[in-house]
């Protein structure tokens, strides 16, 4: 239980000449929810894409259960047990909810396992069951997010990478979805890496947190500690003293390097 199930070491990723990830290392323990916080453009999505194999890292290692997986094709990464629930949901808009779920299980050939997972998804997201035959593009934003998470579950993953599941959702829906994530973690022992802008909600849910800035990890700690940290308070939880937030941000950033 205490060996990291996912170990990332000194990853560097580029978009052409632009370096988006500048040497990131992090550990995820089995059964944990690890949250990655950071401002827009910090490189959170890029990091997830690199883990899921949609992008290949220039340098560094990604190790799942003792085996290196960096540079594998995305479908090989899914087969090894990591599924990426992308930012902005990215459902298949012209297909029904059921078909979207079926596609989530593309790498699974055991039919009974697929049907079991489908029931599991419907157990956690009853609204999807009620709308099985509806085209995914016509679902509401919140329902699409649930579908995206459910579709990820269909791959029977060991680790789910969740990229900003709260994006564009009302606070109540965020609470509902985060509640479901917590239950998935408690009841199914699902390990999760959760990228969030909504630091408050994320740290409440997570066991451990990392803060990213400009392609680097600048801070990490238990969720509790991060929650108490002054930097986090100021920059991500929106608790700010009167006055120039921008100046302060600048200074603090300096102390992080």
């Amino acid at each position: 239980m205490n060996d990291p199930i996912l170990m990332i070491r000194n990853i560097e990723s580029f978009y052409g000449p632009i370096q988006a990830i500048r040497g990131v290392s992090l550990d995820v323990l089995e059964g944990q929810i690890v949250s990655i916080l950071g401002a827009n453009g910090a490189g959170k999505t890029t990091l997830m894409k690199t883990v899921s194999g949609v992008m290949d890292p220039e340098k560094g290692r990604i190790n799942l259960n003792g085996k290196d997986i960096q540079g594998l094709e995305p479908h090989e990464v899914v087969q090894r047990g990591i599924v990426h629930v992308p930012e902005g949901r990215e459902v298949f808009p012209l297909m029904t909810v059921d078909e979207n779920l079926t596609l989530g299980a593309y790498t699974i050939s055991d039919k009974s396992l697929i049907e079991r997972d489908r029931e599991l998804v419907f157990h956690y997201f009853p609204v999807l069951k009620a709308r099985r035959q509806q085209e995914a593009g016509t679902l509401s934003g919140g329902q699409q997010q649930m579908l995206a998470i459910g579709r990820g579950l269909m791959a029977s993953p060991k680790i789910m990478l969740l990229d900003e599941p709260s994006l564009g959702l009302s606070p109540i829906l965020v609470q509902e979805i985060f509640g479901i994530l917590r239950r998935l973690n408690d009841e199914q022992k699902m390990t999760m890496v959760l990228v969030e802008q909504n630091a408050n909600a994320a740290l409440e849910l997570a066991h451990h947190g990392y803060v990213m800035e400009l392609g680097r990890i600048v801070m990490d700690g238990s969720a509790e500690d991060l929650m108490k940290s002054e930097d986090i308070q100021n920059f991500y939880l929106g608790v700010q003293e009167e006055g120039a937030r921008e100046n302060r941000r600048w200074k603090r950033k300096k102390t992080w390097r």
Partner: protein, 291 residues
């Protein structure tokens, strides 16, 4: 009575256009680009089959030649994707378009070298037979074209809606990135779609060469099929087939009832009208594709 016969032969022609249009749409869904060599694939498929069956060439029995030529054209489609199209990954779509146009020239040239430039007909078991139906005399080949096209379309429909691979192909065309995230090996899937387009082109070619004749320039009727695909909305398989049928049926009636010289223009006039009044095609899926 006369009109009924015009209709049947128009439908049979339309089926061939429809099948080529199906090929256009398949590739467009997979690669987001138009394969302007699709008509030449058809011509090539026809000549490969002629080369295997006709007595002046290898003279194999038709039913033995059929699976061989289908496999050859599947391989051609797959290899075109594998060796050429995939190299262009990340280039603009116009690069792919220009490349497929060039590919069409090469195929026509090579076909001319191997099989010559005389029109040739595929020797087949149905040749010259007809069935009488009321007062109608229908070429058995025309009937076969319609039946085969219908079966093929139903088969493709079931394949895309019922099988996992078919669903994955649709998924990859609706949202390629998400398909990657779901563990769908998108590149392999695209290769399979090109192979499928090769097979469909081959079937179209066989039907065309059985009921008429082919020469290396026959592939240029791909332009009409392209019009058919646009009329059908360029996104849906049934739409492509319907577009093909419409173009096929308009032609003989136009040449019967409209002065020669103008009748040729009829399919394109329809195309223009569709582009003006229903820019997404007659049978377009209403919502625009994401991403």
């Amino acid at each position: 009575m006369d009109n009924a016969q015009l209709l049947i032969s128009g439908l049979a022609n339309g089926c061939v256009y429809g099948l080529i249009a199906l090929g256009f749409v398949l590739i467009y869904k997979a690669t987001e680009a138009v394969n302007f060599a699709q008509g030449d694939f058809m011509m090539l498929g026809a000549f490969v089959t002629i080369g295997l069956t006709n007595t002046e060439y290898m003279g194999l029995p038709f039913w033995m030649a059929l699976p061989i030529s289908l496999s050859i054209m599947a391989a051609v489609g797959y290899l075109v994707d594998r060796l050429i199209i995939r190299r262009l990954f990340g280039e603009s779509q116009s690069a792919v378009v220009i490349l497929t146009i060039a590919m069409g020239f090469v195929i026509r040239f090579v076909a001319g070298l191997i099989w010559g430039h005389e029109p040739q007909t595929l020797q087949n078991p149905l040749a010259g037979k007809d069935i009488r139906f009321g007062g109608l005399v229908l070429g058995l080949e025309d009937v076969a074209v319609i039946v085969v096209t219908l079966l093929l379309t139903i088969g493709l429909y079931l394949f895309f809606s019922r099988t996992k691979l078919g669903l994955a192909m649709q998924a990859a065309s609706q949202n390629q990135l998400a398909a990657y995230y779901m563990g769908i090996p998108v590149k392999q899937v695209q290769g399979v779609i090109w192979a499928l387009a090769g097979v469909v082109a081959c079937i179209a070619g066989i039907l065309f060469a059985a009921k008429g004749s082919v020469d290396p320039t026959t592939g240029l009727l791909g332009i009409k099929a392209f019009a058919a695909a646009v009329i059908g909305g360029f996104g849906s398989l049934p739409g492509a087939l319907a577009g093909g049928l419409i173009v096929g049926v308009i032609e003989p009636f136009a040449s019967r009832y409209i002065a020669a010289g103008y009748s040729q223009v009829a399919p394109y006039a329809l195309l223009l009208a569709v582009l003006i009044f229903r820019p997404n095609g007659l049978f377009s899926q209403v919502r625009a594709k994401k991403v």
